[in-house]
């Protein structure tokens, strides 16, 4: 078996989220060093606040200020912080019930070691130096021996409300394409195109994915297809894609390589865009270091008869 192909794959996206009235007040409050909870119809105070009571489903809007001090209700010592977590030195994850609240908030506790942390210990908020209206405006909690903090009786109305947050998310992967697609990529490195034949319906799929989508069985028999093929259908692209160095208009086509029972995609070059047609016979053009054909150009043969490719449209 050839070596397993691998490549890094990074999925990264800045999620933009709008806030409802309660979350907006809470996060704006954090920016202003005020911690807000929401009062339920049966008199509990939820921190962090939510818009609907998780017990009664009542809509909640009655914001009340709670103290920046509280009590640890449970904790876990994290000796190896991971990317994105609140502290980059060892810390405790904690659920903290702030003074005046009936529920607990998840955050980090900066403590010298696990022996310095226990359930029931008193802590207070350490505010971030720069605050924007996000849960990370609380930098972390820190041990605190003093009296419960003051609550200013804030009602949650601020001059300049935060109405949305942007939360970047990034996940790192190492992608492996599997057996069939690896074989396809290996062949491409030798400028050959290889499909796989279904043992039942005998169709040749390219690129192969290891299964026949009609019969639901594994494909294994490799079949070299092309290099020439037939344009089965096409479109003319008039909008230039960012980071793509191709002059518009250009033609993007479905190409049925000789011997394949499935058309693949490719760009057509070497012919004016308005002369491309169904049935045009084409051949691949490789560039010096390309890992797949850069484009297809006319092969100089007579057009294919419609009957020969109509099943592949």
């Amino acid at each position: 078996m050839p070596e397993v192909l691998k490549a890094p794959l990074v999925v990264e996206f800045p999620f933009t989220r709008s806030l409802g009235p309660v979350q907006s007040a809470f996060l704006t409050g954090l920016r202003e060093r005020v911690v807000l909870g929401v009062r339920t119809t049966d008199g509990r105070t939820l921190v962090p606040p939510v818009e609907y009571d998780p017990v009664t489903a009542d809509e909640l809007r009655d914001l009340v200020e709670v103290a920046p001090t509280g009590t640890v209700t449970t904790w876990a010592w994290n000796h190896a912080p991971r990317r994105g977590q609140p502290l980059d030195t060892p810390f405790a994850w904690v659920l903290v019930r702030l003074d005046g609240a009936d529920t607990a908030l998840l955050h980090a506790l900066d403590a010298p070691g696990p022996d310095a942390v226990r359930t029931g210990m008193r802590v207070r908020v350490r505010w971030a130096g720069e605050r924007s209206g996000a849960i990370t405006d609380i930098a972390c909690f820190e041990p605190y021996d003093g009296d419960p903090g003051e609550t200013g009786g804030h009602d949650g109305r601020f001059a300049d409300m935060v109405t949305g947050i942007v939360t970047p998310a990034r996940l790192d992967y190492v992608y492996s394409p599997g057996r069939a697609q690896s074989a396809y990529l290996e062949a491409l490195s030798e400028r050959r195109t290889v499909g796989e034949r279904c043992p039942l319906c005998r169709k040749v799929y390219v690129p192969p994915r290891g299964a026949c989508p009609t019969c639901g069985v594994a494909t294994a028999e490799q079949v070299e297809v092309g290099p020439r093929g037939t344009v089965t259908t096409y479109c003319i692209v008039n909008i230039k894609a960012r980071n793509l160095d191709i002059e518009v208009p250009y033609v993007y086509a479905h190409i049925a390589l000789d011997g394949a029972d499935l058309a693949l995609h490719g760009r057509i070059g070497g012919i004016p865009y308005d002369q491309v047609r169904m049935g045009l016979r084409v051949e691949p053009v490789w560039t010096r270091d390309g890992r797949h054909p850069d484009h297809y150009r006319p092969a100089g043969e007579p057009d294919a008869d419609y009957e020969t490719y109509k099943e592949l449209l």
Binding site: A76, W93, V174
Partner: protein, 351 residues
């Protein structure tokens, strides 16, 4: 309340769960399992009335990743198909309701998950509350450790007892050729205190498939069908600080609605990826000491994400098929700290 139609698990198959299967694509990993359950029943893909799958794009790192796996079930000409972005146990729930309506007599349920391409501890942070929690990136072990500490503080367990759960599970898994961690495994160092490596599930890749059939069709396809006497799923409040982490009222309610408390079960396959979660579930599900819990080794022996819950139903059903159990409970979970819980009660015909 008895379901309006008898539906049974008639076949179950699973891959060997491994740390990495990077030489196979998802569909290549899945296909032998699909054919295993089809062969066991003698059905062809074209005989299946309804197909439902469970998986997640966040493991694969790409959108609509489940469509690639559809090649493995012969989705052309068009089939009746559905997908849940959940553990396959919830796909089985959907298929079960479909069979109850009478729209289908047979269903193929499958699930797959490859954790090896990414970091599953980080990937699972993306299922958390995106406003208050996910920006802090608390990983799955950290959240389970908060629950474990709460249990220890409440006097429900201690680190020694948790090590016992780990040891019992992996000892049981020694007889399970599909399991990833088998036999003696050291507890190791803390990952997030109080949880040690031994308290945590292995990270791995795997797939599983189940065939469901209704009424007489089930008897034709399987010598001893595992009848689903009840199945229900419930969820806790999403705010971790709102919940009592030492209890699982949602698991208890799901079990009650599934009929689990009507008569004792002999076997319980619990989806408890962390040792501490078994402590919570044993209490919530009122399991007596003589119940055989996780004879397969459970999720501590193999925990392919999105698959392990379906495997619990499959393992419970397989014991009924083999005649080693007459009444079994299967449980699946999803989300942090047992946030969502599904309970199924399976029975064989009287012997």
């Amino acid at each position: 309340m008895r379901p309006i139609r008898d539906v049974a698990v008639v076949a179950f198959g699973q891959t060997d769960h491994r740390r990495s299967s990077d030489e196979l694509s998802e569909v290549e990993m899945l296909m032998p399992v699909l054919h295993e359950v089809l062969d066991r029943t003698g059905l062809k893909t074209s005989d299946i009335d309804f197909t439902c799958s469970g998986s997640t794009d966040y493991l694969a790192g790409r959108a609509f990743s489940f469509t690639m796996a559809l090649d493995g079930v012969g989705a052309w000409p068009p089939i009746s198909e559905s997908h849940v972005e959940m553990d396959g146990a919830w796909a089985l729930y959907e298929a079960w309701t479909k069979l109850l309506t009478g729209d289908a007599d047979t269903a193929l349920v499958y699930a797959y998950g490859k954790s090896s391409p990414g970091s599953v501890r980080d990937v699972l942070t993306r299922q958390l509350d995106p406003y208050y929690v996910a920006p802090l990136w608390p990983d799955s072990v950290a959240l389970a450790a908060l629950q474990a500490r709460a249990l220890i503080d409440a006097g429900d367990t201690d680190e020694h007892a948790l090590a016992g759960v780990a040891s019992r599970s992996r000892t049981s898994a020694a007889a399970n050729s599909h399991a990833q961690l088998r036999g003696s495994v050291t507890q190791g160092d803390y990952v997030v205190r109080p949880l040690r490596a031994g308290d945590c599930p292995p990270v791995g890749d795997g797939a599983a498939a189940v065939i469901l059939a209704a009424g007489e069709r089930a008897r034709e396809l399987c010598e001893r069908p595992a009848w689903i006497r009840g199945i229900d799923h419930r969820i806790e409040a999403h705010g971790l600080g709102v919940r009592d982490l030492t209890d699982s009222p949602s698991a208890r309610l799901a079990a009650e609605r599934a009929g689990a408390f009507e008569r004792p079960v002999e076997t319980a396959e619990l989806h408890a990826p962390f040792t501490s979660q078994e402590v919570v579930l044993r209490k919530a599900l009122r399991l007596a000491d003589d119940v055989d819990v996780n004879p397969s080794g459970g999720a501590l022996a193999a925990n392919p994400v999105m698959v392990a819950g379906l495997v619990r139903i499959g393992e419970a059903a397989a014991r009924i098929h083999r005649g080693t159990s007459d009444r079994a409970l299967a449980h699946a979970t999803s989300g942090p700290c047992l946030q969502q819980n599904l309970v199924a009660v399976l029975e064989g015909d009287p012997r």
